[in-house]
């Protein structure tokens, strides 16, 4: 069954203008999110995952500039929208859940007021009606309606994160961006919130762009995963495929960077070296200085993201040369 594409990102590049010249934080990134799909962007700090998401929502401020690419939402070009069009578009079509719920909420307003505010602003309804919707939304994310009058500091971190999710869902958006939504939380709370999101997704049918550095979490939660390294996508595949048969050496290295919870103990190596400084990225394939399978061509030519299977994309000279064999 082929679901229609909701969001299509093509050849997106973002540069930061600095005194020492432009720094390319997102380089030629393309991906699609289908209706009802959870698409994950995984990568280490500085890999460009948050910058890419902010670019798609047109939330980047100078010195960050979108220098190339196209972002289409149901066929409409987001990059060509005027400020006014964007105001109507954001939150209604794509809502955002930030990392760190504790900082996202206004400390001097009750959570009820903050949820109602979103509805009032966008839907021009009476305050009392917005309040009613707020109660429904709170119950949707598993918070008792009696909490409507609570201030953020009276809630636990997990509950605050649920409130932020309720605000994101306030206008019934077809697409939700979630940037490390559970990073600051304990594992039990994290699991509960993700279960709730997954359940709501099934019920309401929205799509999710999920951003995290935690690969286990990503593989468990997402349908399709894109791995970013130093601003470029190096592999895109269904989560199960990626876990079972990663093709890019970086992805394979990442898989070897998580200790096992079961099975025999073995020495694991992770990946040698450190992530590159994107102000002066390596030539050719950006992963080549750390790659165990490096060959000469990797040092000079940037590998394109090509098809390695029906649903599998990879950007590696070796994967191409070996016919995707590894």
């Amino acid at each position: 069954m082929i679901e229609p594409t909701l969001l299509s990102v093509k050849n997106l590049s973002v540069e930061y203008v600095t005194a020492r010249g432009p720094v390319r934080a997102v380089d030629d990134v393309s991906f699609e999110i289908k209706k009802g799909e959870v698409f994950g962007l995984a990568g280490e700090s500085g890999s460009g995952k948050s910058t890419a998401a902010m670019a798609v929502m047109r939330l980047l401020q100078p010195p960050a500039l979108i220098t190339a690419g196209s972002v289409r939402y149901e066929g409409r070009e987001i990059l060509a929208m005027s400020e006014q069009e964007l105001r109507a578009f954001r939150w209604k079509k794509i809502a955002l859940v930030f990392q760190g719920a504790m900082n996202a909420l206004n400390p001097v307003l009750t959570i009820g007021a903050q949820i109602a505010d979103v509805i009032e602003t966008h839907e021009k309804v009476a305050f009392s009606l917005a309040r009613e919707r707020a109660v429904e939304l709170l119950e949707l994310v598993g918070i008792e309606s009696s909490r409507l009058e609570s201030y953020p500091h009276q809630l636990s971190g997990g509950m605050r994160q649920r409130v932020v999710i309720a605000i994101a869902l306030a206008l019934n958006p077809p697409l939700l961006f979630m940037d490390e939504p559970t990073t600051a939380l304990d594992v039990v709370v994290q699991k509960e919130i993700l279960q709730q999101i997954a359940e709501l997704k099934q019920r309401l049918g929205f799509s999710i762009l999920f951003i995290t550095h935690d690969l286990s979490l990503m593989l468990e939660f997402c349908d399709t995963v894109g791995i970013l390294y130093a601003g470029r996508l190096c592999e895109v595949a269904p989560a199960k495929t990626l876990f079972g048969a990663p093709k890019h050496p970086y992805t394979r290295g990442l898989m070897n960077s998580f200790p096992d919870l079961h099975g025999p103990k073995r020495r694991q190596t992770g990946i040698a070296g450190s992530p590159p400084d994107i102000r002066s990225p390596p030539t050719g394939c950006r992963f080549h200085p750390r790659c165990p399978d490096v060959i000469d061509v990797c040092k000079t030519a940037t590998p394109p993201l090509i098809s390695l299977g029906p649903t599998h994309l990879g950007a590696c000279h070796r994967a191409t040369a070996d016919g995707g064999e590894s």
Partner: protein, 333 residues
């Protein structure tokens, strides 16, 4: 060195006073903490935030004074010998590594400076060529090559992993017996975490350093720690050899923690055996601190705080214990 444990903690308790004026209340941060750490052994302390794992490190590094209990360091009663603050000798033998390698190094000073200070302060090197030599040796030990280059760098010129290696080198400068490591890899990029864990493991094997490794990442505890202790609400609720503990967790809380760990092959909808929630640490009720969340709660759990019980189920190795009423004399399950 003596055969016994390097560190022995007996019935440690720590309470913090909270609130002010007439309504002063006691927050029970640690209760009945007892364990032994041997040379060349890694003990992991796992649990959620607020469980007391970092408080144990603070007490052992003498940044916090315990409310009661005893600490024996190399057989000597530490709190009697050094009641107010740690001696230079204790500080040299018990070192710390912190979570945030961005905050634990001084941005105005070079790497060399950070390593020279403890070397000189503790008399491990003489100024001049000897000092330089020892700094380079330390950098080589932690894998920062070429050492000459790294010695001249400032913290901002290095990645998080490299900074954490400097922090480890600084701890090693004084030749410690024990390193207290508080979430040393949680702020590092995923691809370099194993490198830092492996470095800690190598130092344990080569130098017999013992670690108390505080983490919320249970898989990393299994990877590096010989024994793992699970903390909940200031109690060690379960402990034992890491693999045995994680293969056959006994305490309902340990089971919950393990179920909640993200599993790449797992189904997100698999129900958890208990809900999230925070224990009452201020004026705690009697009974087991996990009773309010436990799915298998019994009457006795609300009245009596369970004492540690040695686990003797099938396949349980020596050293397995749990604090749970489900495991009475009969060793149920």
């Amino acid at each position: 060195m003596s055969e016994g444990p390097v560190l022995r903690v007996e019935n440690l308790k720590k309470q913090f006073s909270v609130g002010g004026g007439f309504k002063q209340q006691q927050l029970r941060a640690l209760n009945e903490i007892s364990f032994e750490l041997f040379a060349g052994e890694v003990i992991a302390l796992v649990g959620e935030s607020g469980s007391g794992k970092s408080t144990i490190l603070k007490v052992l590094s003498r940044l916090e004074q315990p409310t009661s209990g005893k600490i024996f360091f190399r057989g000597e009663d530490l709190l009697r010998k050094e009641p107010r603050q740690a001696s230079m000798s204790y500080r040299a033998q018990v070192q710390m590594i912190f979570q945030d390698p961005f905050g634990s190094l001084n941005p105005l000073h070079t790497v060399a400076y950070h390593l020279e200070r403890p070397l000189l302060r503790h008399g491990r090197a003489k100024k001049g060529a000897d000092l330089q030599q020892k700094v380079l040796e330390l950098l080589t030990t932690v894998g920062l090559n070429p050492a000459e280059d790294f010695a001249q760098k400032y913290p901002f010129m290095m990645s998080g992993g490299q900074r954490q290696r400097v922090a480890i080198a600084r701890a090693l400068a004084v030749k410690p017996l024990i390193i207290l490591a508080d979430e040393p890899i949680s702020m590092l990029d995923v691809s370099i975490r194993m490198g830092v864990l492996n470095l800690m493991d190598d130092l344990k094997r080569e130098r017999g350093i013992g670690y108390l490794y505080v983490t919320h990442d249970i898989a990393s505890a299994r990877y590096i720690a010989d024994r793992t202790m699970v903390m909940y609400a200031g109690h060690m609720v379960e402990g034992g050899p890491s693999e045995a503990l994680l293969d056959a967790p006994a305490h309902p809380y340990t089971q919950l923690l393990l179920e909640a760990v993200p599993d790449p092959t797992g189904n997100i909808f698999r129900p958890l055996p208990a809900k999230s929630g925070s224990p009452q640490l201020v004026d705690p009720p009697p009974g087991c601190p996990f009773a309010s969340r436990c799915a298998q709660v019994m009457d006795v759990c609300l009245k009596v705080n369970p004492a540690p019980i040695v686990l003797r189920r099938k396949d349980d190795p020596p050293g397995r214990f749990v604090r749970c009423h489900l495991f009475g004399d009969t060793q149920a399950q």
